[in-house]
């Protein structure tokens, strides 16, 4: 295909062990904070009802993004959009399927008995 770049180009983010190691450490620290935060919301009764659910959902979303960024190395770099596009398309399909299912089943449930 092609040859490696000239020897004097600085190593990219993906060729430097220190930076790659740091990525995992940052991911771990952020994930620990977010997880602990989520459990703290419930254990310490920081929020209740809908607010608690919304906060938990948001924390989960952020943590998923953290895992994708720091453990799976998905980012917004222009050079490689295929993986990102694929995961965004997957998210679209997931949203359609999950929200549709929940909408349909709850609607039927309400009309049946509740």
């Amino acid at each position: 295909m092609s040859n490696r770049g000239p020897a004097d180009t600085p190593p990219s983010e993906y060729e430097d062990e220190g930076r790659e190691r740091l990525s995992y450490v940052v991911g771990l620290v952020l994930a620990l904070l977010l997880t602990t935060g989520a459990f703290a919301v419930v254990w310490l009764d920081l929020l209740s009802g809908g607010a608690a659910l919304a906060a938990l959902g948001l924390l989960a979303l952020v943590q998923a993004v953290v895992h994708l960024r720091y453990f799976l190395h998905i980012d917004l770099a222009r050079s490689h959009r295929d993986d990102l596009l694929l995961i965004l398309f997957t998210v679209l399909i997931l949203l359609i399927m999950v929200s549709g299912t929940i909408w349909i089943l709850y609607d039927q449930h309400i009309r049946m008995m509740a």
Partner: protein, 709 residues
Amino acid sequence: MNWELIFGQIKWNSFVFSGAIENPSLSEFIASGAGFIAVLGALAAVILLTVKGWWVPLWRDWLTSVDHKKVGIMYIAIALVMFARAVIEAALIRAQQLSAYDGGGFLSADHFGQLFSTHGTIMIFFVAMPFITGLMNYVMPLQIGARDVSFPLLNAISLMLTMAGAILIMVSLVVGQFSTGGWSAYPPFTGIEFSPGEGVDYWIWAVSLGSIGSTLTGLNFAVTIYKKRCPGMTLFRMPLFCWTTLCTSILMIFAMAPLTAATIMLALDRYAGFHFFTNGDGGNMMNYANLFWLFGHPEVYILILPAFGVWSEVVATFASKRIYGYTSLVYATMCIAVLSFAVWLHHFFTMGQSANVNAVFGIATMVIGVPTGVKVYDWLLTMVGGRIRFTTPMLFHINFLLTFILGGMTGVLLANPGVDFQVHNTLFLVAHFHNMIIPGVLFGMFAAVQFWFPKVFGFRLHEGLGRASFWCFAPGFLLAFFPLYWLGMMGATRRTYMWSDPSYLPWLALAMAGAALILAGFALMVAQIVVSVRRREQLAAPLGDPWDGRALEWSIPSPPPEWNFAVLPQVTARDPFYEAKKAGIAYRSPAAYEDIEVPRNTATAPLIGLFACAWAFALVWHIWWLVVVSFVLMWVVVIVRSFQTDTEETVPAATVKAANEAFLAAARAAPGVARDREMTSENRGRALPEGLEGRSGPVSSRAPVEVLP
């Protein structure tokens, strides 16, 4: 020893023949007859293979092959065998309904239930799916200029899993009964309470095997199209068939998972007493319909999109014209693919959700008609101003345009929940979806067989018999299904094995006549293949381009060599081969040849298929030792394979060069055949390029330079 420990729930009276002995009736005799045919067919195959000494070639050249072309052919062979069974079942269904006035008929209700369940299951999962998969397998890598798919072994494994599912369904003819729950197998009827016994389990495991195979296929093809296109083949230079293959693959990747989830849940309900879809204890059978159609609606587009691709290739080739509105066809395909995930509720408008929910999905359903309409106009406009040759594939295409539009109209009608409440669960619906799938998918596949057969085997199919079969299929379809629209509007419900309204009779008789015509069409198609094989010398077209084709697959010999392309082509435009012919630069020798690495044949895939089949059979009959053993063996095969390092072999450049130069020399020397002579024995597969018609004699063979610069 304990019988049940060894044989699970199989008893002597599980075999179909015992029914005819214990309870003689026409229905039982027909069931036994079908069982006999299955057993005799298998025996005949074994004897033929033994007498001809074909066991070794079958194993060495076919079953262990990972070549995408052979895998594709085997897929289509499965589809044709299963089609023979399911089309006969369809004729039996029609005959029963015709004869069943006031409780008559010759089939028992239970037998009739099995017939429509196997008919639907087979036609979708083991005819349509293997047919499109086989076709995509064969054609797509050739069109994008690749030597194989990205993961050849995985491809063979998908094939073997599909074959395992097909074998399981055939076994159900002989051992035990099949489900009576229809192809969609709605619980609670298919739960253990109302359907004890092995029938639903056959359905669950056969469908699961097929759906796992399809997921892997989708993955494989998507990666192939993304990563293996030849130099210069940008996405927007791909033939439309490759675009529809890509969209179908993406649908397969995402749509099969809900089906797997639904079948796992149904299996857990039946085997382990879970409560996903049961009547009591918090089960919710409506979720089954929801999950099933999350898969089921994208599934219909999985089937139709490759056929759309075929139509695009056929119409451009036989109108001798560049396809009209390429870009719009691509975007229409994408729109259809995405929208197909947003309409699944229209399959159960009447399940009780509120009108607003129905309205949203009804509107989404109508919207999907728009991109489909765009495609229809593009195909029509391709024909405008073209020089149309009315070959068999083209006849199928014109028939498709006419009838598919009518089916689409009834689809838009059904998308209105108000109308759907009137005609749901009637023969109107049956007429509608057959109207989409037969002229669209099935005839699309038949057209594809006519179109690509010379590429695959090196000789054309007999044109006269092809047209004869078309003239049985097309009116046969109209006769068989248009009366069902009327019957549906008169209130005839689907899946009933008897009826009592005398005004149904004439319509049912017409439908029966149509079924007979379709059977005749199928017989003629089989005859066409047999006759063509016998006359293969006259029909030979080894030079690869019998129809004045446009995409890369026509630039190589027929049948193509194992490595497809001696040198990977370099593409600079759409319709690359057609452009090269016009510019007079086709069939030039490449500057240099290189060694080619091809994957070795391996027993991995057939062994996995064998153990998967045994595993599924054991699950159906609760033979637990076999479940464990075959499951372990399946994974042992995978692990053993992962330790093998020597999986490829090299074809030396000299071999490639000798074969390719011989082909190019023959092609250059051959006189081109003009389009009006393409159905004569003059057609050896060297087309006279457009603009040179009228001239005869060999086209000048220029100095060998770079191929397709």
